[in-house]
């Protein structure tokens, strides 16, 4: 049993990470095909010089940053409100938006936007993508922050009031600092779900708002392309670094 356990752990990690390692490996292959021919950075160079990729990356970053900021702010306040209200029905219904299949959420949003466009002079584009991303990442923020609030001592805010703080000061000086690790984790999650969303984004995007996953998907469908491997490696490493940094920040 004692010797089996490490093997089991290794097997799980291999199952999870070997495909990614293979992808990483082939991004450094000088051949276009899945046969190793020698080390090369040619695909990274191609990636760097690809204008469409650069534009899609910029779009993805703008969308992820804006929707993360909005979803985290709105979601944190929402979680605080739900916690104060303490309604099981309201907090339970949050899970509904998590279990709804993405394709349905996407179609529903598309329908909503098309309906709204009859009254507003808008069209599918960055705005609609950001709105959609705020909507689905907010549910994650709510759940993560609520989980943190549930373990909090409800007497903390009362203690702040008791010591002379107004309701606003109690929130700002006691509740918010206490929630900081939860808010950071929620923001990180919101950023990643926004950055890698394909289904909903593809449905509500316009001509000016192609995101990185959309471009990658189109490239991958056209056949094996080591540029896709290269950019995937960059994203993988980038998000990994983000997680390490946020862990550090939370401990500090």
């Amino acid at each position: 049993m004692k010797r089996l356990l490490p093997l089991y752990v290794i097997a799980i990690y291999a199952f999870l990470h070997v495909p990614l390692l293979i992808l990483c490996g082939f991004s450094f292959n000088s051949s276009k095909f899945t046969v190793w021919e020698g080390f090369s950075l040619v695909w990274y160079e191609a990636m760097w010089n690809d204008g469409a990729l650069a534009e899609a990356t910029l779009n993805s970053l703008v969308i992820a940053v804006v929707s993360t900021v909005v979803a985290t702010a709105v979601g944190t306040l929402g979680a605080y409100g739900l916690w104060k209200k303490n309604s099981r029905l309201l907090s339970g219904s949050m899970y509904l938006s998590l279990v709804t299949p993405e394709i349905i959420t996407g179609i529903a949003m598309l329908a909503t936007f098309q309906w709204a466009f009859r009254y507003l002079h808008l069209q599918l584009g960055m705005t609609t993508v950001i709105l959609a991303h705020v909507t689905f990442s907010m549910a994650y923020v709510l759940l993560v922050v609520m989980a943190r609030l549930r373990t909090a001592d409800p007497a903390l805010e009362e203690a702040a009031l008791d010591l002379g703080a107004t309701e606003w000061q109690a929130f700002r000086l006691v509740t918010l600092p206490m929630l900081k690790p939860g808010i950071a984790a929620a923001a990180l999650l919101a950023f990643t779900v926004s950055f890698d969303d394909y289904v909903i984004t593809a449905l509500v995007a316009g001509v000016d708002s192609e995101t990185l996953p959309m471009v990658l998907y189109a490239m991958a469908r056209r056949g094996a392309n080591p540029v896709v491997s290269a950019i995937s490696t960059v994203i993988f490493v980038g998000l990994g670094l983000l997680i390490v940094v946020s862990e550090r920040l939370q401990k500090a």
């Binding site: 007497a155 009362e158 702040a160 000061q169 000086l173």
Partner: protein, 319 residues
């Protein structure tokens, strides 16, 4: 005079009435306890005084000023919470400084130092609550509430989270602290020993009402109701009268005349360290308990004995 007066306080929860007409006066500088079982309304009463809940009816007055309708931060009252509710991201000193900073007190640094010294916590000033022992947390909570020099300090079962040895020690310290600062303490507890040993005055609460108010001796020795008698300690009930086990004697020989005597058979004898607890059955099948000092002999199970007491020690409390 900054006395606290509660006048006809009522509070309903959706399902039942929690506080059912409480009227009491707490003199300035008094160590006053609200004693009662859980659910008796004592915590709700405290919350209404602190301003976390509002009474449905009745007046709360402190030093002649009506507190009804004031927000907690507008009341000259501070609280030591059962969970201590220390701010987890702030050190002991920052926790103590919290209220002073809200007031923009120019002497904050000095007052924080003095308050920490008062509770013997100067060495732990820079420690976060997570790194403190239970006793240190409790002292920080006390310092944080006392540093604002409230006219009234509310304490919500502040000793219940401590282990028994520490609880006894903190009891002594709490009493000394109150004598030193001279602030009125309103202490909420379900522990009768705590209330008896700490308080100048006690109000015993039951089902939202005050059953009896008085000094610890008064409520222990002359309880007004059967509930008070039973809540404050064990009682041998014989018809309409009760007698405390420690005032009940036991002997093989016939007791002196004038005593109330019950012929009984010992059903159990337990050594409790500081005394013996002997339980005996009367001929009528009633179970009585005598708590006796070591010097008064040992008794065996099945032995025929006399249980007796002085009629002047009886508490006459018809059912």
């Amino acid at each position: 005079m900054s006395e606290l007066i509660l006048e006809g306080i009522y509070k309903d929860f959706p399902t039942h009435r929690v506080v059912d007409g409480i009227t009491l006066t707490i003199p300035q500088g008094c160590f006053y306890s609200l004693l009662g079982p859980s659910g008796c309304g004592k915590t709700t009463t405290l919350r209404m005084i602190a301003g976390f809940d509002e009474p449905d009816r009745g007046l709360i007055k402190l030093a002649g000023r009506t507190l009804n309708g004031l927000r907690p931060y507008e009341r000259p009252v501070t609280t030591v919470f059962q969970s201590y509710a220390l701010f987890p991201h702030l050190t002991a000193a920052e926790n103590v400084a919290f209220g002073l900073r809200r007031r923009k007190d120019p002497d904050t640094a000095k007052k924080v130092r003095d308050a920490l010294e008062l509770v013997q916590l100067s060495a732990k000033a820079d420690r976060l609550p997570a790194k403190m022992s239970g006793g240190e947390r409790q002292r920080t909570a006390l310092a944080r509430a006392l540093v604002l020099e409230p006219e009234l300090l509310l304490l919500d079962e502040p000793l219940s989270a401590l282990d028994p040895a520490l609880r006894k020690q903190m009891r002594v310290e709490l009493k000394e602290l109150q004598a030193r600062v001279g602030i009125t303490f309103l202490f909420i507890t379900h522990d009768q020993e705590e209330a008896l040993s700490l308080s100048d005055r006690i109000a015993v609460m039951h089902q939202g009402r005050i059953e009896q108010m008085g000094s610890p001796q008064e409520i222990y020795l002359t309880p007004a109701t059967r509930f008070v008698a039973g809540f404050l300690g064990a009682v041998n009930w014989v018809g309409d009268v009760g007698v405390r086990p420690e005032l009940t004697r036991i002997s093989r020989e016939r007791p002196p005349s004038g005593m109330r005597v019950k012929e009984s058979t010992v059903s159990s004898a337990m050594f409790l360290g500081d005394c013996f607890r002997v339980e005996a059955q009367t001929a009528a099948g009633q179970s009585l308990v005598a708590q006796i000092a070591h010097g008064l002999g040992q008794f065996e199970r099945g032995e025929r004995v006399h249980l007796w007491w002085d009629p002047s020690d009886e508490m006459a409390l018809p059912e």
